[in-house]
């Protein structure tokens, strides 16, 4: 039930998938809100929330990669060399890279400001970059560009999944219901 099988996604992978989906959508919305508001005392907590959720997303991305070493996910449905499967594979690799690079760039840029990165309102994370304005600007620029890329990729990912859902080839069902 928890583990993946050669044809089905186990509950662990499915929970990770949907938990991260929710988290990432929330982070994309929250991040976009953050750069548009004028910060003051009443909105400062939103930065903390964004960093907290972002760090959770990073931890879950690592957990998912580790879990898929322990319990490999099933191969795509249909012939492996089908162009759609190759495209999906490339999109998934890119999604994983972004799920690591985006929170890391946020953490690096936040560290480079010289301010403590505090999550859950109390845990101060170690600074993973020296205080540097150049690094801060580069980090936030990367964070901004990579999140736009993620948005585009997510739309593609959702479009692909929807098309497969309409074809009833079992791809959508196995990540939702299991098999």
């Amino acid at each position: 039930m928890w583990r993946n099988t050669p044809t089905a996604f186990g509950l662990t992978t499915r929970l990770l998938h949907w938990l991260m989906a929710g988290l990432i959508v929330a982070l994309l919305v929250l991040g976009t809100v953050l750069v548009r508001i004028q910060p003051d005392l009443s909105t400062l907590w939103l930065y903390g929330l964004h960093k907290t959720l972002g760090l959770c997303a990073l931890v879950l991305a690592f957990a998912r990669l580790v879990w898929h070493r322990i319990s490999p996910p099933p191969a795509p449905t249909g012939p492996p060399n089908q162009w759609a499967n190759r495209a999906a594979r490339a999109a998934h690799v890119a999604l994983y890279l972004l799920m690591l690079a985006i929170p890391l760039s946020g953490w690096i840029a936040s560290s480079a400001t010289g301010l403590d990165v505090v999550i859950f309102g109390q845990i101060t994370l170690p600074a993973i970059a020296p205080t540097s304005e150049a690094l801060e600007n580069a980090g936030f620029a990367a964070h901004s560009v990579l999140t736009k890329l993620l948005m585009a990729l997510l739309l593609t990912h959702i479009a692909g999944a929807t098309l497969r859902g309409l074809k009833h080839d079992g791809t959508l069902r196995r990540i939702t219901k299991g098999s």
Binding site: P39, D40, L41, T113, E133
Partner: protein
């Protein structure tokens, strides 16, 4: 302030005849500051390291003020603000742990005085004008000028000193309110 009896710096009396030097009571003195943060304010305090004052109540313009502040131990109303303020993009207190002010002229004005001088922040020196008021400390006898309370107010624009960090979020003008308790040197 009602319990403090205001001294009119203009009325000269025999006890006030000579310029007298004063030193700071650091534990009873504080530099308060305030700046805008969106629709809110960031407030905070900075310890005074040293203050040397020569006050001449008869000839106000002969008065001198020199104050050194301990920027490295400044505190602000929330932790991020204190960290941001002391960091390299604002006060850079690691390289510039002190802020200093030296008067160049003192003029009596209204009930108090106007102190013009030079302030050094982040190693950059700029002119600054502060308004001063002086009172006898609570519990002293009328005419006893051995213990005084001096309040200096003024403002600086941090961009003048290159302290421009977070200027998209935090105001440029920093308003200062210094309350120093001083004792006359015997």
């Amino acid at each position: 302030m009602r319990h403090l009896l205001m001294l009119l710096t203009l009325c000269a009396g025999p006890v006030w005849a000579a310029p007298a030097s004063y030193s700071l009571q650091p534990e009873a003195s504080v530099v308060g500051f305030e700046t805008d943060f969106g629709s809110d304010k960031i407030t905070g305090q900075m310890p005074i390291t040293r203050a040397d004052l020569t006050l001449d109540f008869k000839n106000v313009s002969a008065s001198r003020v020199a104050v050194t502040l301990d920027a490295a131990h400044a505190d602000a109303s929330f932790p991020f603000a204190a960290q941001a303020m002391k960091g390299p993009k604002v006060l850079d207190s690691k390289d510039f742990p002190q802020i200093s002010f030296v008067s160049t002229s003192v003029k009596s004005k209204g009930d108090g005085a106007e102190v013009t001088g030079k302030v050094t922040i982040r190693g950059v020196t700029k002119p600054m004008v502060m308004q001063a008021m002086i009172w006898r400390q609570k519990g002293t006898e009328a005419g006893d000028l051995s213990h005084l309370t001096i309040r200096l107010t003024g403002a600086v624009n941090r961009s003048d000193f290159g302290a421009v960090g977070w200027s998209d979020m935090v105001g440029d003008q920093v308003r200062l309110d210094i309350l120093a308790r001083i004792v006359r040197a015997e």
